[in-house]
Subunit: 285 residues, 2 copies
């Protein structure tokens, strides 16, 4: 879809009636992997841009918002997280944020498409800078199957860092998958998933995710919105569910005294993300 | 700039290297007023769209975010607001939100371009539905001059609902203007101004606004971010300053028990908007 305006990459969201464009200097990589069309652009103002099947995945400039919010709220909500699984997350930005927590023992990342990670290693070296951490294991396999095969009570946190709920990612937005997550989690375990735009999807995808997580046995769930300029509406969300506990409580003192740097997340931002806008209260009622 | 893609209105932010597009059915109005080029489009999914000099001003679908956040946080921060001035605000959405507060005695709106309001009355009747309220006075004049002529200690709240700080609006982002606001405000008075995107302007416009408000005598100030899909990055802000008090305290119980409906704002969202992201702490240090 880059041909709309010369010198620009444009993603058209036909159903939403909106489009988003980034000024580009050059396309620096392109390939068809076994699973999808992968493109990397050098943009004029957002650093490098990764595009999968025509959809903007991330840029250098603003991915910190997404990656910090997919990880730190869940990690500071769990009482003592040790073992983490990331489903998807091939660009490795989520992995990098998880590994900032010193008490993490093991992170297993299960990405379907190895080429996404290999391309990220070349073009987004900062995001991949923790891939060699001894606590990290990178698998290239079907995350849905991996979770269904996981030992019961073996994980503290499952992070679903996927593409939109169409195609291969569709099975990640489903009660069967959530049931297997619930089984794989220990007592106090958490599931967190990217859940699209609050403005576009509150009464569809987000509402269904909550219903399906509860059906699967999760006791509480909450959607946390955050800004994300390169995604539709510029406002995105993750939804967090707990096997046993209230997801609106977190280790505030630990978050405030965290031993690592962040660019968006802090204890106030965490608390803020738990606020529910009026229209979402209505949509999720 | 509507010619980029047939069937779409596209706004290009050349300096930012980004663009935003809305699918349109038709252009339903166009005129050159004394001050600017005014266009109204019927979009496919965002209702009607107002464009001034090629810049997206608002749409039916998402203006509630901006208008609620430009008004209710300030009105619930002030201890007992009675007299309000709106500088700009020609679409009347801000006026409508202010008038939801039953204790407001008088709202004076000073918009430079009467045609913006007349066009809004025709194409955004919902936003203009309180224009006939006996507490509202609509003036079409230079807001900078109006504030400089205002009686000292005559206002409780000044809302600067302007376009970007270029052209006619430039003088609204200036210490001289803030000094006149400070003079016109009573003890406990508040100034709130739209201050662009936190992601793009934290260390430029927003930082300067804080410095200039303090120079003008305001005791405290805080920038409150909020989502706004049709503006650059999809994330916008207002900056609130107080003549005497701490702007991080507000009438939480009154906000929770408000007598009117909102779609985004509530007491939790107000508290959330006071959280400062890490990168903004660094930019505003």
């Amino acid at each position: 879809m880059a041909e709309h305006m010369p010198g620009w990459f444009t993603e058209i969201f036909q159903d939403q009636g909106t489009g988003f464009s980034l000024a580009i200097d050059a396309k620096v990589h392109e390939e068809n992997s076994q699973y999808q069309h992968i493109e990397i652009y050098q943009t004029k103002t957002f650093g490098k841009l990764m595009v999968l099947d025509g959809c903007v995945m991330l840029t250098d400039r603003d991915n910190f918002l997404y990656h910090e919010m997919m990880t730190h709220p869940a990690l500071f909500t769990h009482k003592a997280p040790r073992d983490v699984a990331i489903i998807g997350g091939g660009d490795c930005g989520t992995l990098k944020e998880v590994l900032k927590h010193p008490d993490i023992r093991k992170v297993t990342q299960i990405e379907l498409d190895e080429r996404v990670t290999r391309v990220a290693e070349e073009h987004f070296p900062d995001l991949c800078s923790s891939n060699d951490d001894s606590r990290a294991e990178l698998l290239f396999a079907d995350g849905i199957k991996w979770i269904s095969d996981a030992s019961p009570n073996s994980l503290d946190l499952i992070i679903v860092d996927s593409t939109d709920p169409v195609g291969p990612a569709e099975g990640l937005f489903a009660v069967d998958f959530y049931r297997n997550c619930h089984l794989a989690l220990r007592e106090g375990g958490l599931l967190v998933q990217q859940t699209e735009s609050p403005l576009l999807h509150a009464d569809t995808i987000i509402k269904n995710v909550h219903a399906d997580m509860r059906k699967a046995g999760f006791k509480t769930s909450r959607t946390l919105p955050f800004p994300q300029p390169v995604y539709p509406t510029g406002w995105w969300s993750c939804t967090m569910a707990s096997k046993n506990d209230n997801v609106t409580f977190f280790r505030e003192a630990d978050a405030a005294e965290r031993s690592f740097r962040t660019r968006y997340y802090n204890e106030d931002i965490h608390r803020a993300a738990l606020a529910v806008p009026e229209f979402m209260k209505a949509a999720l009622k």
